[in-house]
């Protein structure tokens, strides 16, 4: 009883798999579009590491392969159109229409991919004139959804674009750097859409938020004061970074549930023993190097975590005065410092000790992030060591949201500065969070806040975050070679499949690439 119909259906279904471009090209296509791996993975319904795998040689199959092919073909078409635009900018004598033909030879679209629709509608006529994304004058045509002039004579792109910031009207133009000619090969983003108006619900209606952009206005004012001298403005801004950070912190706590308590009573363990001495807290700064490598030559990549202290501002911070307690018990709603006996660490050959490189044995005072890290890796999910033994604690009710608005404001300003290539804001933001963290304790440069406990907790959180990065590399099959300082770890292997490269706080940047070990003796 053979069902020939079913066989026919099977044969029809088993069509040849959609061909995909090479692995490097897949990656290039995604990066050219400024799309992050997690973003693409979310849309395709797979995990970011799967996408990373596809971009390093593996091939998807089945339905998701078709989706991926569709994305790649679409990306290629879009890039071809954008390259045509930039080419048109470079040589304005040529007519634009010749380039925006989707069948450009520069990007042979895959005919089997379902994404290559031959749409001549890329160029459309606008009923109402809209401002051209290139020159700002009213234009009657749009290309790929962006209104612009088709005739370069109409478009006055030759004059430098003076896009005044809506929030920083006083900013003179030198702050906005024109894209360097060396970066022309990357498709310039055709016109940034204007920043949205932030709104909040007010009663039954909406109203615009009356949150002044403190960072933006400070940068604009400094630039105006120094008449556009970037270096002088940066210097002036960095100089006033600490009071500005405190003002931003005050501002971010407006309407908050908890007060920032700046001068609490601190226990003796948090007090400096002498003027130049340290207190008794162990921050668990990693300083670890793998004892030995497998034979052969290895290419080591030194990776750097971006904005480590900025990310570490999100940690469980004790709110009020620290209270003493004894006994081996950890309350997740409280945070502070704990006297613990750390567990034995048997994985020193391939993973750093979460407690850092501690020379002396015995109990030590650690902070909340270190304790939470130890509790987590000793838990059933990881089981890397025994749980630490807590002897006594100085804790207070804690929240993770205390510095959250402050952190987000700084992070947004940083992201914006990176996107706009605005070095002044970037340096200013960096000085703000770095100096905020370093003067949080008993510093004479910042007397507004005497929270030695917070300083230790934030630093320890940065180190814990670094440990997790190292663990992730190890977990994904890379060889972790070093973990040191606040934000640096060295790996061997294809780290691009694990971490995203870039300047965002979730990404890593390459500090150095070096090779270690002797090559195999030639036979």
């Amino acid at each position: 009883m053979t069902d020939f119909g079913a066989i026919d259906a099977l044969l029809a279904g088993a069509a040849k798999e959609v061909p995909l471009p090479s692995a490097e090209e897949r990656r290039t296509l995604r990066e050219e579009l400024n799309l992050s791996r997690p973003r693409l993975a979310e849309v395709l319904g797979v995990s970011p590491s799967t996408v990373a795998g596809w971009e390093s040689g593996r091939d998807p199959s089945g339905e998701v392969r078709e989706k991926y092919a569709y994305f790649l073909a679409g990306a290629r078409t879009k890039l071809a159109a954008e390259t045509a635009e930039t080419a048109e900018l470079a040589e304005p004598a040529e007519p634009l229409t010749a380039h925006i033909d989707p069948a450009t030879p520069t990007a042979p679209a895959d005919p089997t991919a379902p994404g290559t629709t031959e749409d001549p509608d890329d160029v459309g006529h606008l009923a109402a004139p809209e401002p051209c994304v290139l020159c700002g004058q009213p234009a009657h045509h749009q290309v790929a959804g962006f209104p612009q002039h088709l005739d370069p004579a109409e478009c006055e792109t030759a004059v430098p674009r003076e896009t005044a910031e809506p929030t920083a009207p006083a900013a003179p133009t030198p702050a906005r750097r024109e894209p360097e000619p060396s970066r022309v090969d990357r498709p310039a983003r055709p016109g940034r859409p204007p920043r949205g108006v932030p709104v909040v619900p007010a009663g039954r209606r909406l109203k615009t938020t009356d949150t002044p952009d403190l960072i933006g206005s400070a940068v604009a004012a400094a630039l105006a004061e120094h008449s556009g001298d970037v270096e002088a403005a940066t210097k002036a801004l960095v100089k006033r970074a600490i009071p500005d950070a405190m003002a931003l912190l005050d501002h971010s706590r407006k309407g908050g549930r908890y007060d920032v308590i700046a001068h609490p009573w601190l226990p003796d363990v948090l007090r400096k023993q002498s003027a130049r001495g340290a207190d008794q807290i162990w921050e668990a700064r990693p300083k670890w190097a793998r004892p030995e490598l497998p034979p052969g030559e290895h290419e080591v990549t030194a990776l750097d975590v971006n904005g480590a202290y900025l990310s570490a501002l999100k940690t469980h911070l004790p709110l009020g005065q620290l209270e003493h307690s004894t006994g081996d018990h950890h309350d997740r709603r409280r945070a502070g410092v704990h006297l613990i006996t750390p567990p034995e660490w048997e994985h020193d050959a391939y993973l750093p000790n979460p407690i850092g490189s501690r020379d002396e044995p015995g109990p030590l005072w650690v902070t909340e992030p270190t304790l939470r890290l130890l509790l987590r890796v000793s838990g059933p999910a990881y089981g890397l060591c025994d749980p630490p033994e807590i002897h006594e604690s100085w804790t207070s009710g804690a929240t993770e949201g205390l510095l959250e608005k402050f952190r987000v404001a700084l992070k947004d300003a940083r992201d914006r500065a990176i996107a706009e290539d605005d070095e002044v804001t970037l340096d200013y933001v960096k000085a703000m969070y770095a100096k905020f963290v370093s003067t949080l304790g008993e510093s004479n440069y910042n007397r507004e806040l005497y929270r030695a406990d917070w300083m230790h907790l934030i630093r320890a959180q940065a180190f814990a975050n670094l440990w997790w990065k190292a663990h992730r590399a190890y977990d994904q099959g890379l060889m972790v070679v070093r973990a040191m300082g606040t934000d640096e770890f060295h790996v061997v292997g294809d780290w691009r499949a694990v971490f995203d490269e870039g300047r965002g706080v979730t990404e890593v940047k390459v500090k150095d690439v070096y090779s270690v070990g002797a090559p195999h003796p030639a036979d």
Partner: protein
């Protein structure tokens, strides 16, 4: 003032008088020589501060350092060391002179041209008090605008005047329950 505590600590509450906490914080802000006077380094630092100029010598004399210039020179050269009584005198004089010198600048920073300084009141410690006697005493903060009398009393090292100035210029503004903050764990402010 009826809100003043009569028998503080009867049920086990612990804390210090508000004005003592303020004096401590002001001392911390003024910044004294940290090396003790019993060490040669600390002694020399204090003596140099007190004999830096004619004006400084005069201030030291006015503050009670009634030794001859000959003795001072001998101390500075190390030919002789001060007796224990004189060591105490040097320490006391040094603190008075230093406070007096710093007061002007501290006052300007605390008043901030009328904007004042935010002060934190950390309530007394009730951990040793029986449950039925516990009272809800919360952390409070307050902007203090007039520091003149407080600083004046602190510079003069006058505990009674400082207590009076602190209560009438700052603590009373906490409201009708200000008596709960007559004794505190610490008082925090920046300058």
């Amino acid at each position: 003032m009826p809100e003043r505590n009569i028998e503080f600590g009867k049920f086990g509450a612990r804390g210090i008088r508000g004005h003592e906490a303020v004096a401590r914080q002001l001392d911390a802000l003024a910044g004294f020589v940290t090396t003790p006077v019993t060490q040669r380094r600390g002694l020399l630092a204090r003596l140099h501060y007190l004999t830096r100029s004619g004006h400084a010598r005069q201030a030291a004399r006015a503050a009670g350092l009634t030794v001859t210039d000959r003795t001072l020179k001998a101390w500075l050269d190390g030919r002789r060391g001060p007796s224990r009584k004189n060591l105490e005198l040097i320490e006391k004089t040094y603190r008075i002179v230093r406070r007096h010198n710093v007061a002007r600048y501290l006052l300007a920073r605390l008043n901030r041209e009328g904007r004042g300084t935010r002060v934190e009141f950390h309530p007394l410690n009730q951990s040793q008090v029986d449950r039925p006697h516990h009272r809800a005493v919360a952390y409070r903060s307050l902007n203090v605008r007039h520091w003149d009398r407080i600083i004046e009393a602190w510079a003069a090292d006058d505990a009674t005047a400082l207590d009076d100035a602190w209560i009438t210029d700052a603590v009373v503004d906490l409201g009708s329950e200000w008596g709960q903050y007559e004794y505190v764990t610490t008082i925090g402010f920046a300058a």
